[in-house]
């Protein structure tokens, strides 16, 4: 790739992106994404270290029953499978197969959306059982039980759990929108708009996602600006760079899943 790019740089300036000076043997968009991912890894690294530190000095609860573990394992499978479909999408883009590029990117988005939906259901279930934060909407009747006790006695648990997983869920949501823009360009904008509106109207106002769904509105505005500035057909480089971001989201979950879920399983037997 690198050598071939260098050859192209030397002989032709016909396609946007190919005239860019190679840095570290890769085109500049790829280097830029790697640098962004390096900085983002520090964000998650700080959060995960803080999480490990907090849980090390408190009597950390282990509330996740088998249902939560099964749910989070399926979510992990979704993300791992989405990485495979993303790789297939990059393959298709690089052999110039536009139809299969769209198909594979759509499959990746479907896995990502499944992850978000499953995670949203998990959040809703835990909040319903009483694991909550002061900033979340208050339920009509306060929950009682194990999760409510944890929120009261060890508020760090809910703070770190929701903080880490919300940060990751935000990245997955941005990733799905990113892939949608790459795959479908302006045709994806009304989809985001409809999802935002339907979600806002259908999700009850005492559910945290009634407000969280506004991420889609922000994404819609940002995507509209980007597409109005650069409405070209995205090429194989763009698909590969989007793939780097998507794999990073998968990578981060490989640490969140064992640290947050598996180390907090309900001890049985």
């Amino acid at each position: 790739m690198a050598d071939a790019t260098l050859q192209h740089d030397a002989v032709g300036h016909g396609t946007p992106g190919e005239f860019e000076a190679p840095l570290f043997g890769a085109y500049s968009k790829k280097v830029g994404m790697w640098l962004f991912l390096a900085s983002d890894s520090l964000t998650f690294g700080a959060l995960l270290v803080a999480f490990c530190y907090v849980r090390s000095y408190t009597d950390w609860p282990t509330p996740f029953h088998v249902q939560s573990i099964i749910n989070s394992t399926i979510m992990t499978g979704c993300l791992l499978s989405s990485s495979l479909t993303m790789v297939m999408g990059v393959f298709a883009a690089q052999r110039g197969d536009r139809a299969w590029t769209r198909n594979w990117l759509f499959a990746t988005m479907a896995f990502g959306t499944a992850f978000i939906v499953l995670h949203g259901m998990e959040w809703t279930k835990l909040i319903g059982e009483g694991l909550t934060l002061p900033i979340f909407p208050k339920p009509a009747t306060p929950a009682v039980g194990e999760m409510a006790d944890i929120s009261k006695n060890t508020p760090q648990f809910a703070a770190t759990f929701f903080g880490l997983t919300a940060m990751h869920m935000l990245h997955v949501t941005v990733g799905v929108m990113y892939l949608g823009v790459i795959a479908f360009r302006k045709w994806f904008l009304p989809v985001i708009g409809v999802l935002w509106l339907v979600g806002y109207l259908l999700i009850p106002s005492d559910n945290v996602f009634h407000y969280g769904i506004h991420v889609l509105l922000i994404g819609l505005i940002v995507a509209s600006v980007i597409l109005s500035l650069k409405s070209k057909d995205y090429d194989a480089q763009d698909v590969e760079v989007a793939g780097l971001y998507w794999h990073f989201v998968d990578l981060v979950w490989m640490f969140i899943f064992p640290l947050v879920y598996l180390l907090s399983t309900k001890i049985v037997g």
């Binding site: 043997g25 700080a46 495979l84 690089q94 780097l244 490989m254 064992p258």
Partner: protein, 107 residues
């Protein structure tokens, strides 16, 4: 770009290896779940084992899915070194403060 990319992927990639990597990641995840849920090790040892498995999984993702294994050596080392250095610098600030909190006590 199209020709360049085709050249690259025919050189050292095959779709089969990505399916193997995906399978390996699923198997490692299954091992993690069994270890985590059955509480086979005591907590500190469990943390070590799960972190080692996570690092193996992340290496597979970075190396194959993110294609870093096939980038130039200077690119690989630049990324690994810079991220590692940033983590070390960050922890220089984090651990002294974390230790201070422990010494003062938490109530």
């Amino acid at each position: 770009m199209h020709d360049a990319a085709t050249e690259e992927y025919s050189g050292h990639d095959s779709k089969a290896q990505y399916f193997w990597v995906w399978g390996a990641l699923l198997v490692l995840t299954a091992i993690e779940v069994v270890l985590g849920y059955k509480q086979i090790f005591e907590p500190v040892r469990m943390l070590e084992v799960l972190l080692i498995l996570s690092i193996i999984k992340s290496a597979l993702i970075i190396g194959y899915f993110m294609h870093l294994k096939f980038e130039r050596a200077i690119m690989r080392w630049m990324l690994v070194f810079s991220v590692s250095a940033c983590f070390v610098i960050m922890y220089f600030f984090f651990f002294p403060d974390a230790g201070r909190v422990l010494r003062l006590g938490v109530h």
